[in-house]
């Protein structure tokens, strides 16, 4: 008898649970206010946007904004599934320079130039040219930049001068390697470079090294070039630099790990995103020098990335979505961030006018000019010495690159860990790239 009562109880409980879960999913919407959903990448600039959202809703009382924040990997998966399946869950999302041309071509995201034309105060010509090109498809902007970055070399002036090294503004990789070895000691490592597998982690700095060493992923006929001497030299250089003067456990070091190591004075130099300098604290903030991305054969080897607001074609609230995107990427927003949260919080790398604001120049001091110039000179269409059939600096702008890049960087991580030779890794990587290249050979 007791059993039967128990069973009935469980059934009731489960029914209640299912019922409440279902009713929770419905509701919302309606009325004269429009709610737009923004899928945003989890970074400090987006966290600031969340804090300032009331400034938008107070000026636009008929629009409510729901921001879903996700880490980069998950964001990319969610958003890709959403646009590919045309489900219209989001009205805006943050996408990078990698996605914009690919998705524009497929018609997954909306051409924003008609919207921009409607707002005379938006001033699209103020957007930094390199960024604007990277976010355009057939000369039309398909996404508006919220935050932009290139790469540069950050170094501790005190540590380098103690070792008798001076760093030029435009260093070569050989100079950087020599400096790294000179400052390397038992307590401080010479340089931090990303070794963490992933196309957006390890491969970003590594590919810029390959580019300036004269290497490329594919030739004009989409034949993989990873077994070329340039790739061999670049990868050997990168791995040897890590082994002789790099951070320990390099296979786990990404942007965050290197930032921590640099902030704690564990490494004397760091080649990474220009935004890294905005996060310096203590001695790292006061004693740092900044140099342009190191080079070998090709000059201006810095990468280019911009988290931008794109609008899926499946959105049913495009006008409201644009109103928000307009606000979040406008000159006024930059000033709003500066006055409300402090000028160091300003999302960098989007508008030229940001860099002529005296308050920002004061806050961003040493690295503002390097950032602006690096972004301005980063050209997604001419990143390599030899001609290539693809666009992109630290990536190849094709659908398959996410998977290809992840697999290849895993092989390189194995080299860094000492598990295989440079040549063995490049052989495997070349085979992987060959399979991808075939899709484009006709």
């Amino acid at each position: 008898m007791g059993d039967r009562k128990l069973r009935a109880g469980i059934v009731v409980l489960l029914t209640a649970l299912v019922g409440s879960a279902c009713s929770g999913a419905g509701g919302g919407g309606g009325g004269s206010t429009t709610t737009i959903t923004l899928a945003a990448v989890d970074n400090p600039q987006m966290a600031d946007l969340k804090k300032l959202i009331d400034n938008f809703t107070s000026a636009h009382s008929n629009i409510q904004v729901k921001i879903v924040t996700l880490p980069e990997d998950q964001l990319r998966q969610q958003v890709t599934q959403d646009v590919a399946a045309n489900s219209g869950r989001y009205d805006l999302f943050t996408i990078g320079t990698y996605e914009v041309p690919l998705w524009a071509k497929k018609g997954w995201i909306e051409d924003l130039s008609p919207y921009i034309a409607k707002d005379s105060s938006y001033d699209a010509s103020d957007l930094i040219p390199g960024i604007k090109t990277a976010l355009s498809y057939k000369n039309d902007l398909y996404a508006v930049p919220f935050y932009g970055e290139s790469s540069m070399l950050m170094y501790r002036k005190d540590m380098l001068s103690a070792a008798g090294v001076t760093m030029p503004d435009h260093p070569t990789w050989d100079q950087v390697a020599a400096a790294a070895k000179a400052v390397n000691s038992s307590s401080v490592n010479g340089i931090c470079l990303r070794g963490l597998p992933g196309w957006g982690e390890q491969l970003a700095p590594l590919t810029t090294v390959v580019n300036t060493f004269g290497g490329r992923w594919f030739d004009q006929n989409w034949n993989p070039q990873l077994t070329s001497p340039q790739w061999h030299d670049a990868l050997s250089f990168y791995v040897n630099l890590l082994k002789s003067a790099g951070e320990p456990g390099a296979g786990n070091a990404g942007f965050t790990e290197c930032l921590n190591a640099y902030n704690n004075g564990k490494v004397a130099m760091w080649y990474d995103a220009t935004v890294g300098a905005s996060n310096f604290t203590g001695a790292a903030a006061t004693n740092s020098g900044y140099a342009y991305a190191p080079t070998k054969v090709k000059d201006w080897s810095g990468w280019l990335w911009a988290w931008s607001l794109g609008m899926p074609s499946s959105s049913k609230k495009k006008d409201a979505a644009w109103t928000f995107a307009d606000w979040a990427t406008s000159k006024d927003y930059i000033k709003l961030v500066g006055t409300k949260l402090g000028w160091a919080h300003v999302p960098p790398g989007t508008r030229t006018s940001t860099y002529s604001l005296p308050e920002y120049q004061q806050a961003a001091g040493g690295f503002a000019q390097v950032t602006l110039q690096s972004i301005a000179h980063a050209d997604v269409t001419h990143a390599t010495v030899d001609q290539v059939p693809y666009i992109g600096i630290q990536y190849v702008d094709i659908d398959e690159f996410q998977q290809l890049g992840d697999q290849v960087s895993q092989e390189f991580a194995k080299v860094i860990a000492g598990g295989q030779s440079v040549d063995a890794a490049l052989q495997k990587a070349n085979a992987l790239a060959a399979a991808v290249g075939k899709n484009y050979q006709h």
Partner: protein, 318 residues
């Protein structure tokens, strides 16, 4: 409590034989009266588990990449054929087998050891048992993160620090010995599970039998080998099979610890499936891997359930 459980088992085991042919219609109505309230649950479970599975089988016969609009086309057995030739799959299958075997064998041995200790009257037994179970209750993701960052990190990890007197201070465990690291984390997680099941077996053995053996002059090792071990054998089998069912599907710790790398050194079938589906967005290929994984798991599960029922029958017969 114990007697109540036994009576349920007995009634479950004894069902079927009780009914007489004349009472068949009454019995059927009664059976339906019993099933009817469960029907919604059954239909619900059926819908949410079987429709996705049927869809997965359906997709596995198509070539479909989510990133390529218009790529959806019938591919027959192409996806399955490529499973046979693809080197990544072979590596993943091997890694899955290696990982599962190592984890199960080590955690059963350790679990048996700990269970034997806890079966005796030792000081602080209750506290020890609780502490031993803890790893199984910690979220796998959180557990793996703690292992990676606070225990194994070569710069500030506890294990390299403790091993530094032996010259192993700056070993980058996760990258230099990736499979060892994953196995270590999984063993840490599954030992409590094995211990619990084996402990249940040990506690169900009749102390009089052991006493009789002692009177007959058997020493501790003989008692363990000749009496205890045969008795807990079905429990060990059950633990091993249930455990392997879960360890085959290991994902969390690999995702957090090694991300399948370096190279493909720790990519098992579930992780490969994740990479193909969510990094490559090849739905057809991923579905084929999924179907094969389900078939493998089903085979293991069949053995697990058979062992489970044989234990229940032994229990019920008592």
């Amino acid at each position: 409590m114990k007697t109540a459980n036994r009576s349920i088992l007995r009634s479950v085991a004894g069902r079927g034989g009780e009914r007489s042919p004349s009472a068949a219609s009454v019995g059927r109505r009664e059976a339906w009266a019993r099933r009817l309230p469960l029907l919604p649950a059954f239909v619900y479970i059926f819908l949410v588990t079987q429709i996705p599975f049927v869809l997965t089988i359906y997709y596995s016969f198509f070539s479909w990449n989510l990133l390529k609009p218009g790529s959806f086309r019938f591919a027959g057995l192409e996806n399955y054929a490529s499973l046979l030739t693809n080197e990544s799959i072979r590596i993943a299958v091997w890694n899955t087998v290696l990982l599962t075997l190592c984890v199960i064998v080590i955690s059963v041995v350790l679990g048996l050891g700990v269970a034997t200790i806890l079966n005796n009257e030792v000081f602080g037994k209750g506290l020890m048992r609780t502490l031993m179970i803890a790893p199984f209750l910690i979220m796998p993701t959180a557990g793996a993160l703690i292992w990676k960052d606070t225990l194994l990190n070569p710069l500030f990890g506890l294990i390299p620090y403790l091993l530094s007197p032996f010259g192993l201070g700056r070993v980058d465990w996760v990258n230099q010995f990736p499979m060892v690291s994953v196995v270590a984390v999984e063993v840490w997680r599954w030992t409590p599970f094995m211990m619990l099941i084996i402990l249940a077996g040990l506690q169900s053995q009749n102390p009089e039998v052991l006493e009789a053996a002692r009177v007959d002059g058997a020493n501790a090792i003989q008692q363990f080998r000749r009496i205890t071990l045969p008795l807990v054998r079905p429990f060990i089998e059950l633990g091993a099979l249930l455990g392997s069912l879960f360890v085959v599907q290991t994902f969390d710790s690999i995702f957090m610890l090694t991300y399948g790398g370096p190279g493909e050194d720790t990519t098992n079938i579930p992780f490969l499936l994740y990479l193909v589906a969510f990094q490559g967005f090849s739905i057809g290929q991923a579905s084929a891997i999924g179907v094969v994984a389900v078939i493998i798991t089903t085979i293991v599960a069949t053995f697990a359930l058979r062992t489970l029922f044989s234990i229940f029958q032994i229990e019920a017969r008592r």
